[in-house]
């Protein structure tokens, strides 16, 4: 097929400073100003958190749920590098960049959420670590992952940019690239072990919630189900991003690769649903799903959304319809996010009668950080060769560059001519 994705090409010919981008910047700005306010007055006045629900959406949504969406680099990377789905290498840059941004902002949000962030420096002293704490495991692995392997994985993209932008630097780029290539397998290995560890520890966090987490969610398999959910969330989110960007920036879609992603995603969801049902059945907790209460409703909502996502992803791969795949990916994200959110808040009852609902400021800060992440993604996708495209688009871009450099050279020449004259 002519339009197969062969190369990562920046989104050229499109202005950066557009209306949606401005909206994102404004939302991000509001969020940042409110963060300042939060640091001064403390957590109580700005959030809906209380002594029963000590964790609000900053931790449970921005960190615990959104880093699940940012697991594309982990999940698709394993498919590409370990299970040799070689075709998928082409979407890795998109996955890596979205993962990097969601992790960086998840971690920043954690810093805003905690009450005494200045004490985080103890993380540099391993002998002060309490290795029994799942949260320590999360904090350590997540910050190492985001700042070292995930950051390094983005370097080839930047090198490509430098190579094309400054031809005089090509030799040093090539030299540096050799170092990168030599270290890459070790970095990539780390980029799979660390997320496997902290994504499962995110699930382990609520283990200590004990019986206060509804039996439909509380299980010794919580860490396993969390990391598995991160896998399909990563796939779903990357499919959704690729399709979304392809549509708004009018780029050809590679249905082959997208449907391959969808197919793997369907498998991941299907296995996850069966694992969860088997676990509930064997431990006899499944009866709780048939009580006419809120938790059972929530459970079936999750299962139905994910079941639908499974069906859509499977049948979409048969019908090869981008719309079907997009819908399937959105359902995957929605169901997975709901699953990862529920045991922390909606299915967590620390004390009868206590309630939590995020305040307006809390929501605005949360939205603000997501907006900044999206804005940075938009800039980088337009500057760096991140999004996959067919070769034809690359040649088109080259031709355009040539032309614009000729125009620039002509302009300089004429300006110089005028100066001489």
């Amino acid at each position: 097929m002519k339009d197969n994705w062969r190369r990562n090409v920046p989104v050229f010919n499109v202005p950066i400073w557009t209306r949606p981008f401005q909206v994102l910047c404004v939302l991000g700005g509001i969020g940042l100003v409110l963060v300042l306010y939060r640091e001064i007055v403390g957590l109580g006045p700005v959030s809906g958190m209380n002594d029963a629900y000590a964790w609000g959406i900053w931790k449970t949504f921005n960190t615990m749920v959104l880093t699940g969406l940012g697991s594309g680099a982990f999940a698709i990377g394993i498919a590409a590098w370990i299970f040799r789905r070689n075709q998928l290498h082409i979407v890795m840059r998109t996955a890596i960049l979205t993962s990097f941004l969601s992790y960086i902002f998840g971690l920043t949000m954690l810093g805003v959420d905690v009450g005494r962030p200045w004490n985080f420096y103890w993380i540099a002293f391993p002998w002060h670590w309490n290795l029994h704490s799942p949260l320590l495991e999360v904090a350590v692995c997540m910050s190492i992952y985001a700042t070292i392997p995930l950051f390094l994985e983005n370097i080839p993209t930047v090198l490509d940019y430098v190579y094309d932008r400054w031809p005089q630097q090509r030799l040093s780029v090539e030299k540096f690239e050799k170092v990168v290539v030599a270290g890459y397998p070790f970095v990539v290995g780390l980029a799979y072990v660390l997320p496997a560890m902290h994504q499962s520890s995110l699930g382990a966090l609520m283990l200590l919630g004990g019986d206060r987490v509804s039996p439909l969610w509380q299980t010794p398999l919580l860490p396993f189900l969390y990391v598995w959910a991160a896998a399909f969330l990563g796939f779903g989110f990357v499919i959704a991003i690729l399709l979304f960007c392809g549509i708004i920036w009018e780029r050809p879609l590679d249905v082959d690769i997208l449907s391959q992603l969808s197919r793997i995603n369907a498998w991941l969801i299907g296995l996850w649903i069966s694992a969860r049902l088997i676990d509930l059945t064997f431990r006899g907790r499944i009866v709780a799903a048939f009580r006419p209460d809120f938790f059972a409703g929530l459970f079936w909502a999750e299962m139905m959304i994910l079941g639908w996502a499974f069906w859509m992803s499977r049948s979409a791969s048969v019908r090869r319809s981008p719309r079907g795949m997009f819908f399937g990916a959105l359902l995957t994200c929605l169901g997975g996010m709901l699953y990862r959110f529920d045991p922390t808040t909606t299915a967590f009852q620390p004390r009868p009668g206590s309630i939590y609902f995020p305040s307006v400021i809390e929501l605005l800060i949360s939205i603000g950080f997501v907006s900044i992440g999206a804005a940075i993604f938009i800039i980088l996708a337009k500057v760096l060769p991140v999004l996959p495209a067919p070769l034809s688009l690359w040649y088109e871009m080259e031709a355009q560059r040539e032309k614009s450099s000729q125009v620039a050279a002509a302009a300089i020449r004429s300006a110089a001519g005028q100066f001489v004259a």
Binding site: R6, L43, D51, A54, Y184, P185, A196, L205, P385
Partner: protein, 313 residues
């Protein structure tokens, strides 16, 4: 793809190497954690309190004494004329609550404060040891130097005890520390010192347990299930309870005999013992990636030749 004999041999060797590594890893994991899995022991000089709900008259003297002894600001936010907090909070380390049955006949007071668990969930949850259990007295204390303010202790504590200061830029975690400063001076905690009915008394855990069992023996049928709450519950606590109504009615959850961290983090601890499993996983992954790397490089070279463009990693 055609499989040559060499390929096959290579696969068999890598495959068996992987199996050997994972076998060694799991064996080491199991033996490594066998000893880490013993239940936590009661510290040698464990001190605590015994609260007897049948003796308590709900006078709140202990609440006032606690506020004074710990330099807390009396919490009159709900009612300007009284120190009347609705629950434990960062200005209230202990509180007397009243339980009344729906039919109005059965009632009981209950004193709430930190239970000073033998194997505390809050200490297990705490990242850098902001909450620590003293190895001798067993008192669970907070140290602001190591506290990040993540509030995981609040999520983890099965008794809902640690409280967070929701105001200000320098918040604290507040909970009963068994008046550690008074203990250091050889005095007993403020609440036990002032209790007019000796409903709450201070002592070593051993003495208190003996005393509680004596009271049960002397008054058969008086106490709920003839049971001392805290002897075994949740892995044992250093604050013990006697009650004439059910423990769950006065807000003490039935947790079983295993401590919360042991019960829920068992597998987590096994999987992470000495980081053997992650290290083994890393070795296997790097090996596999390096093998597939050659394939990828070949593919990149083909791509370069075909398109005449520099390959993208």
């Amino acid at each position: 793809m055609e499989i040559t004999r060499r390929d096959l041999l290579q696969r068999i060797t890598t495959g068996s190497a992987a199996i050997a590594v994972s076998g060694a890893v799991s064996a080491a994991t199991m033996t490594g954690l066998a000893h880490a899995e013993e239940p936590a022991k009661v510290p040698p000089r464990a001190v605590g309190m015994l609260y007897d709900a049948t003796r308590c008259i709900g006078c709140q003297t202990c609440v006032v004494a606690c506020t004074k002894a710990n330099d807390l600001q009396p919490d009159n936010r709900r009612d300007p004329l009284h120190q009347a907090p609705g629950d434990l909070n960062y200005r209230t380390k202990t509180l007397i609550k009243l339980y009344k049955a729906a039919d109005g006949k059965e009632f009981s007071f209950v004193k709430q404060q930190c239970m000073h668990c033998v194997d505390p969930a809050c200490v297990s949850a705490c990242m850098f040891g902001g909450l620590k259990k003293d190895s001798k007295s067993g008192v669970v204390t907070w140290n602001g130097k190591y506290c990040v303010g993540c509030r995981y202790c609040e999520v983890a504590c099965p008794y809902n005890i640690p409280k967070f200061q929701w105001e200000g830029f320098n918040p604290r975690i507040v909970k009963c520390e068994l008046c550690k400063d008074r203990l250091a001076q050889g005095e007993e905690p403020a609440c036990t010192a002032v209790c007019p009915k000796k409903a709450v008394v201070f002592g070593t855990r051993e003495e208190l347990l003996k005393e509680a069992k004596l009271r049960i023996a002397q008054n058969p049928g008086k106490y709920f299930e003839n049971r001392v709450f805290g002897e075994k519950e949740g892995g044992g606590t250093q604050v013990l309870y006697l009650s004439h109504v059910s423990f769950s009615a006065i807000g003490l959850p039935e947790l079983g005999d295993e401590s919360v961290p042991r019960k829920y983090l068992k597998w987590q601890r096994r999987l992470y013992s000495y980081l053997i499993l992650p290290a083994g996983l890393y070795a296997v992954l790097v090996g596999s990636i390096r093998k597939n790397w050659k394939h990828h490089e070949e593919h990149m070279r083909e791509e370069e030749q075909e398109t005449g463009l520099r390959a993208q990693l």
